[in-house]
Symmetry: C2
Amino acid sequence: MARVRSIPQPAPASLTLTTVLHALGDPVRLELVRRAQATPESTCDALAEGLDVPVPTLSDHWRILREAGVITITADGRHRRARVRAEDLDDRFPGLLAAVLRPGEPR
Amino acid sequence: MARVRSIPQPAPASLTLTTVLHALGDPVRLELVRRAQATPESTCDALAEGLDVPVPTLSDHWRILREAGVITITADGRHRRARVRAEDLDDRFPGLLAAVLRPGEPR
């Protein structure tokens, strides 16, 4: 069985609105969040497919999303998997994630 | 009568979600938007009172908010007045502004 572990992430109570908004306020990061929400537990590699962003930039994007509390990253053997912290975000900022991820939302 | 004129601002149809999120994703800008929403047609000077931000930085913040389509700035004689584009934002990104400006929202 692969060793699965969580990469450190902020506690729900420490999430701040401006940090979350800033994390979501980038086209690549918002697209990653949309994809992660659409296909939970995907690998980070699969989620970034076709985005044409250099690997170091992509790592920065994942880090910013994780540190803001928008996504959880899990290390699963050689893979990293991303999951949107929808429940934590809804608890803390009701309605925000739904408004941001509305289907058909202009970007 | 003072000459009142609008400073250029983007058309509603050209507002993009990530630009709006980025504009709101800063503590000073979010505070300016909260205050502008609470006291419509205030002067920009009055809205920035007590924020302890250098004037050039403040000008940048207002510009970013205006260019993102979050606020309208009107030049009223020597004063500039700010108004949140609540209707345009609601039309374009339903629920977003309400979620961001919820009273008691942790910041």
